[in-house]
């Protein structure tokens, strides 16, 4: 009980499972389950659509036309925004920017967070220091942390990336550390130590491969989380700045026209929901496959 209580802040659902035998087939099996397949499908459809979509359109995301807030249909499948820009083109551009931002920020956070979470094994005081740093960061609400970043940097793409890294890195750090603590009592760790391997080797070559599954599951969850962080910051006006489009900034601008042009805000809303649901299903499927061994 105390273990789950301890893990609860960062990982309500991902308490560290005992490692299974290694093998890529478990990932494939996870993707073959209905949940895994649907999750992967949702994410892939959105990624592919946002990459190919722009080539099928006549208008770019920044090109202003004569009709502002045109109704959906005809030339503009989803209509236009208040500056006469094609909404579909902006949804594609916004989705791409979101995917790009999260694909930069979350891997950085995952790698840095995991390594800093494990470093306590090699150097206890340093590891302890980073755990305290993570405690502080986790105590700060994500949006607040993001806003603090926009004070230090200018609001914009870089600030959003930094914000996502700062919010998600401690989550990976906690995850890595709690998984590490689960591995330390196991025989293979003792065996590696008896063999006289240096601790960094035990950490990187022996323990890391055994906890990489858990980090992978966390990764899918945090990709969804990162989309939400971008959205939250952009909706309050401190995220992605005009004229760039992101899913969050379109929801912000479009929410003013819900009465006449509901598609403006609702289409990016649907994209966010599908992406987040996709990542969540994917992580659930991976989680089950790893737990079941």
């Amino acid at each position: 009980m105390s273990v789950s209580a301890q893990a609860a802040p960062a990982t309500p659902d991902g308490s560290a499972p005992v490692p299974a035998a290694r093998g890529r087939s478990r990932y494939l099996r996870a993707l073959a389950t209905p949940g895994g397949a649907v999750g992967l499908g949702l994410v892939l459809v959105i990624v592919v659509a946002s990459l190919i979509g722009p080539y099928l359109l006549e208008y770019g995301p920044y090109r202003q036309g004569p009709d502002s807030l045109a109704a959906p249909g005809g030339d503009h499948l989803l209509g236009t925004d208040e500056l006469g820009r094609d909404l579909l083109a902006r949804v594609f551009a916004g989705t791409r920017l979101d995917l790009l931002i999260t694909l930069i920020a979350v891997p950085v956070a995952a790698i840095a967070g995991s390594l800093l979470g494990l470093v306590g094994m090699v150097n206890r005081p340093v590891g302890g220091f980073f755990q305290r740093v993570f405690d502080v960061l986790l105590g700060v609400p994500a949006v607040i942390l993001g806003i603090a970043v926009t004070i230090a940097l200018e609001p914009g793409t870089e600030a959003v990336i930094v914000a996502i890294v700062l919010v998600t890195m401690p989550i990976f750090g906690r995850q890595a550390r709690s998984s590490l603590l689960g591995q330390l009592p196991l025989d293979y760790v003792a065996a590696a130590e008896v063999l006289g391997y240096p601790r960094h080797r035990v950490m990187l070559r022996h323990i890391l491969p055994n906890i990489v599954d858990v980090i992978f599951i966390r990764f899918a969850v945090e990709m969804a989380h990162a989309i939400m962080i971008e959205g939250g910051l952009s909706v309050v006006g401190l995220g992605i700045q005009a004229p760039q489009a992101s899913l969050g900034s379109m929801i912000k601008d479009g929410s003013g026209y819900l009465l006449d042009r509901p598609a403006y805000a609702l289409v990016p809303v649907v994209v966010v929901v599908l992406l987040v649901v996709g990542y969540t299903m994917l992580s659930n499927a991976l989680n089950q496959a790893v737990l079941r061994k």
Partner: protein, 317 residues
């Protein structure tokens, strides 16, 4: 117990002190000279110089930090540049809107989270359990800025049963104020409900297998009594920790909800402060938000220690 309280209190104070240093240094992390930033890009050197000496920006950082904290501790929060009002006054003005919203959201997530958790743990209907799980996945995918827009669209635009947002005084027009609270509070509470429910349900299922349940059964207690009197209190720990974190982080969500629902509150004040580069005000509000989050988590820890002696006696948490 006292030792536990003091220990947690000390660590909360240490965290707060560290955060205050970080919040203070934000302005100095920002590129460029803070005095120029504060004065605005096109201010003349005279103004910049005045601001610099006025704020003591020409003195060592440690001295500046000491003075800032010293002022805070005596209750002087400073003045807002852009609004020309004492920051304390501004906070008092905007506090009610945010407090009402966070209290409403806290009530919703606690009640719905715990009830759903108990249902999830006790139901034998596979359909109901599956249904709750699907809804939970969906609710988790709905951060306030998404659910807020969807709620406004359906309740305010399509069905026109609730206002899309705005402010009303709870004292003068309570009915209108409460109607305006409903949607933003739901938006804020929604993602927390499935998490709390699942934490509670997992713990409760574990508790059902324990010997004290068997003892209670043997003594003739009925299922309902066992659920509410024996299993539930023993299973609340993780759910309460999570609630503490969620409630503490509500201020972050409130910023987003205030933007989507056009409510005046501390969140909208913070956004305005950052956008108009009113850094003193922004720093103060950031510090307040983080202090609130830390305080709520502290209270949550005390609650569990009160409920579960293993925590307070174990020493480690």
């Amino acid at each position: 117990m006292i030792r536990f309280v003091l220990q947690r209190l000390l660590s909360a104070v240490v965290v707060l002190a560290v955060v205050s240093v970080l919040v203070f240094s934000l302005l100095h992390l920002a590129p460029g000279d803070p005095a120029v930033v504060l004065a605005g890009a096109d201010a003349d050197p005279q103004t910049v110089a005045t601001i610099r000496t006025q704020l003591g920006l020409d003195r060592p950082l440690v001295t500046q930090y000491g003075e800032w904290v010293g002022q805070l501790l005596t209750g002087d929060l400073g003045r807002s540049y852009t609004l020309g009002q004492p920051i304390g006054e501004l906070i008092v003005q905007r506090l009610p809107g945010t407090i009402q919203l966070t209290i409403a959201a806290t009530l919703l997530m606690t009640v719905f989270g715990l009830v759903t958790g108990v249902v999830l743990a006790t139901t034998r209907s596979r359909l109901l359990r599956q249904g709750i799980e699907y809804l939970a996945t969906l609710a988790l995918a709905l951060p306030p800025f998404v659910s807020g827009v969807v709620l406004i669209f359906f309740f305010a635009v399509v069905w026109q049963v609730l206002p899309s947002g705005g402010d009303a005084s709870l004292v003068d027009t309570p009915a209108s104020a409460i109607r305006r609270l409903i949607l933003p509070a739901i938006a804020l509470a929604l993602p927390a409900v499935p998490v709390i429910a699942q934490l509670l349900a997992t713990e409760m299922r574990r508790a059902y297998d324990q010997e004290f349940v068997l003892t209670a059964l043997a003594k003739g207690a009925n299922r309902r009594r066992i659920t509410w009197r024996h299993v539930m209190p023993n299973s609340l720990g993780p759910a309460i920790i999570e609630l503490g974190i969620r409630v503490g982080h509500l201020f972050g969500g409130a910023i987003v909800a205030e933007a989507i629902f056009a409510r005046a509150g501390l969140g909208s004040l913070l956004v305005q402060a950052v956008q108009t580069r009113d850094y003193r005000l922004a720093q103060m509000l950031l510090l307040l938000a983080i202090a609130a989050a830390i305080a709520v988590q502290f209270v949550a820890e005390l609650c569990i220690a009160r409920i579960d002696p293993r925590i307070r006696l174990g020493g480690k948490s």
